[in-house]
């Protein structure tokens, strides 16, 4: 895969769009389906201009019917197409859960491995836009708990493009979780098509004092925290799983062996969050013998996302929380 270095910078939303566009140019089985993705260009502008380029047969606007959107992807995927569905906000996947969890995820297994469901469901998650409790969910662990689904959560424009192109080429149902606050983040992205294998984590930053495992927007916040911490002489290593399931944890475990300390950071609520999975993998591994401190989780509070701006801010980890938590861990205060 090409390196991001020395290439032009585009935003995360442009990177997602470019992955969709190049995938559709390369493979005519690929089509988009979802609410307001046509002339409107999608609620967050992801498919802006794509209806004009590919027409209404390949950029399909639907009525507000999430169960049928997911089901339409399943049916089309089963019969030779490569649908990419959009669920306008991650919250609304709740209306499509049956088709996703009981159909898409299980069909192949139930049919003795004789069917494939190569579909992608893209959806923006997360808080920070003042959209309140029914438009701010981070539900990724609902899906990591379902064998048969793959779950991808890119944290940068480079990853967004490469992972989405890989997801579209994958033979399985993939949930591709974007983050509303990342859409405007810029970064280097090669112009040519490329894929990043699903399941491979990324060492975003090297450091020796503490391993921070973060997902999605929290990778960006961990990077900012790292700059603060570096001023105090604390060097954190940041690991981004990128794909939550499947997830090759060996790089993360090696990192914890090296640093002896681990902090897991995600936006979703703490109880039964993905952090529990990450921490379990660390303590079940050889890294256990190298741990110098408890493995800690920093995550969203166990509440729905509040509307008030200040409460919303405090409901999920921010840069200063990561800084404070990392500092305590490194200073041996736990």
């Amino acid at each position: 895969m090409p390196s991001p270095n020395g290439t032009r910078e585009i935003t995360y939303v442009e990177a997602v769009r470019e992955a969709l566009t190049q995938s559709m140019q390369a493979d005519e089985r690929v089509f988009l389906i979802g609410e307001d993705i046509g002339v409107y260009g999608g609620a967050f502008g992801v498919s802006a201009g794509m209806h004009a380029e590919f027409g209404g047969e390949r950029v399909i606007d639907t009525p507000i019917s999430e169960a049928a959107i997911v089901g339409a992807c399943v049916g089309a995927a089963l019969t030779g197409m490569r649908p990419v569905g959009e669920i306008q906000f991650m919250d609304f996947i709740t209306l499509g859960m049956e088709q996703l969890v009981l159909q898409a995820a299980k069909v192949r297994f139930m049919f003795g491995g004789k069917a494939t469901v190569p579909m992608v469901l893209r959806t923006p998650g997360g808080s920070g836009t003042g959209a309140a409790a029914q438009h701010s969910e981070s539900l990724e662990t609902w899906f990591t708990h379902v064998p048969g689904l793959k779950v991808v959560m890119p944290s940068s424009p480079y990853d967004a493009k490469g992972l989405l192109m890989a997801a579209i080429q994958d033979e399985n149902p993939v949930i591709f979780v974007e983050h509303k606050l990342l859409y405007k983040v810029s970064g280097p992205v090669p112009e040519e098509p490329y894929t990043i294998p699903l399941g491979e984590p990324n060492i975003v930053r090297e450091g020796k004092h503490l391993t921070v495992v973060a997902t999605s927007i929290m990778v960006q916040r961990a990077k900012q925290a790292a700059e603060e911490l570096a001023k105090e002489g604390i060097e954190i290593e940041i690991v981004d799983p990128r794909t939550l399931n499947p997830f090759d944890d060996s790089l993360m475990i090696q990192s914890v062996v090296k640093t002896g300390k681990a902090l897991v950071v995600h936006e979703a609520v703490k109880t039964s969050g993905y952090g529990a999975e990450l921490v379990s993998r660390i303590v079940e591994s050889e890294a256990f013998d190298y741990l110098d401190a408890p493995v800690r989780r920093l995550a969203g509070l166990d509440i729905p996302i509040p509307y008030n701006r200040n409460l919303e801010y405090h409901a999920v980890p921010q840069v200063e929380n990561i800084v404070a938590e990392a500092r305590k861990l490194v200073r041996g205060e736990y």
């Binding site: 307001d36 409107y40 609620a43 209306l95 509307y307 200040n310 405090h314």
Partner: protein, 329 residues
């Protein structure tokens, strides 16, 4: 298109409401309009965040519908719900405070524009989920029947919501159990960018009632008296044990779907055509109001909204120390 749909503008209703009642209704419609215009200003000034869905142009539906119900009845509202909330008798100041995320707001700043509720007044809240209120209305209907009271529940939703499974499941259940539910569909011709003509192959959403064996009517949603009449009749039927009604109100939103809408899916001409059927102007005309009287009434509404904003701005923010409150009873 809407013309052919609005076959029954009701002459009968026009005699049911007194001049005084109509003046009150006009004032509430003006209050809704000024509330939402103010909301837009506050948003533009950065005093509120998030998004909001304005019902400017649809005021007659809200006011006519609530006007036909009593204080004992229940309301389940939509994301585009400021109008219904005010028409239900909610206080503009407590709504404005909620809108600005203040502790004094109806939901203590936790819900915001999309979730304003006033449970004490049987307003069971706006809903961020399209068709989210419909299944709940079935439960409220069951509860009314179990408690054997003379109440009804009105659930408001859009044209787009009628394409969700929840719409069909709920109407069918309310029908087989003969529940006192009024299904009020505000057909404002679009679900975000999706025009009604492209999202369903029927001319009237009220035709869907037949599939579930309930009464269905379509009215001109910009005619406050026609809406009043339809909801009044539906309430009579429900109370008499004759079950639910689906009412489709044809209307139009003047503003974009939400703050980020560039409105590429419709023309300025189309918007203008509907503005010429403005519900407030229509009622004022029907009441033979002079320009001076009309302006005077608008001024009164403006003053009420200004006071609401002052109250909201002076109100305290929620305390972060209370952030965990309210998840469990």
């Amino acid at each position: 298109m809407a013309k052919s749909k609005n076959a029954q503008t009701s002459q009968a209703a026009k005699r049911k409401l007194s001049e005084k009642q109509l003046h009150e209704m006009l004032y509430t419609m003006m209050l809704i309009r000024r509330f939402e215009e103010k909301a837009l200003d506050l948003y533009s000034l950065g005093k509120v965040h998030g998004t909001m869905h304005l019902s400017i142009g649809q005021e007659a539906t809200a006011v006519g519908a609530s006007g036909a119900l009593t204080q004992q009845d229940y309301l389940l509202n939509t994301h585009r719900g400021h109008g219904h909330c005010l028409a239900w008798g909610s206080q503009a100041d407590l709504m404005m405070a909620e809108f600005m995320g203040k502790e004094t707001g109806y939901c203590r700043g936790r819900g915001g524009s999309m979730h304003i509720a006033n449970v004490d007044a049987n307003n069971l809240g706006a809903n961020g989920i399209v068709a989210g209120g419909l299944p709940i209305s079935v439960g409220v209907g069951l509860s009314i029947r179990a408690r054997n009271t003379e109440q009804v529940v009105m659930v408001v939703f859009g044209d787009g919501a009628s394409n969700e499974g929840a719409f069909h499941e709920s109407i069918n259940m309310a029908s087989i159990w003969n529940l006192p539910v009024i299904f009020l569909c505000e057909n404002n011709q679009y679900a975000m960018s999706m025009p009604v003509e492209k999202s369903m192959n029927i001319d009237r959403i009220s035709d869907r009632a037949a599939a579930y064996g309930i009464e269905g009517v379509t009215v001109d949603g910009n005619d406050v008296e026609a809406v009043y009449e339809a909801v009044h009749n539906a309430r009579q039927r429900a109370i008499a044990g004759k079950g639910p009604t689906l009412i489709e109100c044809n209307t139009y939103r003047y503003m974009g779907h939400s703050k980020s809408d560039r409105q590429a899916y419709r023309t300025r001409d189309e918007v203008k055509t509907w503005m010429d059927k403005d519900p407030i102007e229509r009622l004022a005309g029907h009441l033979d109001m002079s320009k001076k009287d009309k302006d005077g009434l608008f001024k009164k509404a403006e003053a009420e909204i200004e006071k609401a904003v002052e109250f909201a701005e002076a109100s305290p923010e929620p305390d972060v120390a209370d952030i965990m409150e309210g998840v469990y009873a």
